[in-house]
């Protein structure tokens, strides 16, 4: 008998504060496993953002820097420009990256910063109690759009991967999901690629991970996986939007 799955060495012993069924836990695991498999754990610096994942520095077994809301790509730029030989990543939610931090991620991509960004898109602001995010779907109910997102009033949801893929400095842009074992396996491949491309020094890698927020959505964790598959994937298609192989 060989152990084929156990808790990654890239994660600490601490139990996470995330809600039951929150897919942050899955994504943390995929990042941690990728770093261990690529033997990058000792030389990685993570930039934590503000959102439910603000405490991610307690869960990753690496040196980490807390960043102000939205600023992680700028902080990561500072880190990578000082230590280009280290592996640097940001881990951001949809408020952090798609709202307050949109300038920072666009310009980090524009400059071709050799960092990896894990963008957790769950179409809502989880930490602060379920408000509307730029990625909230049309007619989706949130605490600040109680009758559902009115696209005439506040615009259509923002498609980050499509937007960033146009930037020359963005080397690898992929959208994946974690709603099923098959999807999780694909997500792991994409995240690992994001770190491999960083090691190759090509440019910015961004992996957008469609995720659930059972608490914010008012659904059970299992129902939330279904909701993601039925509602988010049609609007946010999975796939590779930019790849060094194509370029």
């Amino acid at each position: 008998m060989t152990v084929i799955f156990t808790k990654s060495k890239g994660l600490t012993e601490l139990e996470t504060h995330y809600c039951p069924g929150c897919t942050h836990g899955i994504i943390h695991k995929l990042v941690a496993e990728s770093l261990v498999e690529l033997d990058l754990l000792n030389d990685t610096i993570g930039c934590a953002a503000v959102g439910c994942s603000i405490l991610s520095y307690n869960y990753f077994n690496i040196d980490m820097i807390e960043s102000a809301h939205g600023r992680a790509p700028a902080v990561a730029t500072g880190v990578k420009r000082v230590h280009p030989e280290k592996t640097v990543f940001t881990y951001q939610g949809d408020g952090d990256l798609a709202s307050i931090g949109t300038a920072e991620i666009v310009h980090a991509a524009h400059r071709g910063e050799k960092i990896t960004t894990i963008f957790v898109n769950n179409a809502i602001y989880g930490m602060t109690g379920g408000q509307m995010a730029p990625t909230t779907l049309a007619n989706q109910k949130t605490t600040t759009a109680p009758n559902g997102r009115d696209v005439k009033h506040c615009g259509m949801p923002l498609k980050v991967s499509e937007m960033l893929a146009q930037i020359p400095g963005a080397a690898y842009v992929a959208r994946v999901s974690v709603h099923s074992p098959k999807a999780v396996r694909q997500a792991k491949k994409a995240i690992k690629k994001g770190f491999e491309y960083q090691m190759a020094g090509i440019g910015l890698s961004l992996i957008e991970v469609l995720s659930t927020c059972p608490t914010g959505w008012g659904l059970s964790p299992i129902d939330a996986l279904l909701w993601l598959e039925e509602n988010m994937i049609p609007y946010y298609p999975l796939g590779v939007y930019k790849s060094p192989e194509e370029a």
Binding site: M1, T6, C22, I26, P181, I222
Partner: protein, 82 residues
């Protein structure tokens, strides 16, 4: 395809009872443990028919809290997820 057999170990006290593993299991042998509450106040899961476990690892793959360890015996070489 090589026949897979597996064993699953669940750290019951760290389980948050989210149930993602129960739907991920292809042979449906993971269930919520009846009348059970763990030290965190959640209803943990348990394996009801260990002999049927194929060692696919889907449960551990989906577990957000990494409380599941899966061992597998098979002739097929597999990269471990550690």
């Amino acid at each position: 395809m090589a026949e897979l057999r597996g064993t699953v170990d669940i750290e019951t006290d760290r389980c948050k009872g989210c149930g993602l593993c129960t739907v991920a299991c292809p042979v449906k042998i993971i269930i919520f443990k009846a009348n059970s509450v763990n030290v965190k106040g959640y209803q943990p899961v348990t394996i009801q028919d260990p002999a049927s476990c194929t060692g696919c690892g889907n449960c551990a793959l989906m577990c957000p809290d990494s409380v599941i360890t899966v061992e597998r015996s098979s002739r097929k070489k597999e990269t471990a997820h550690v």
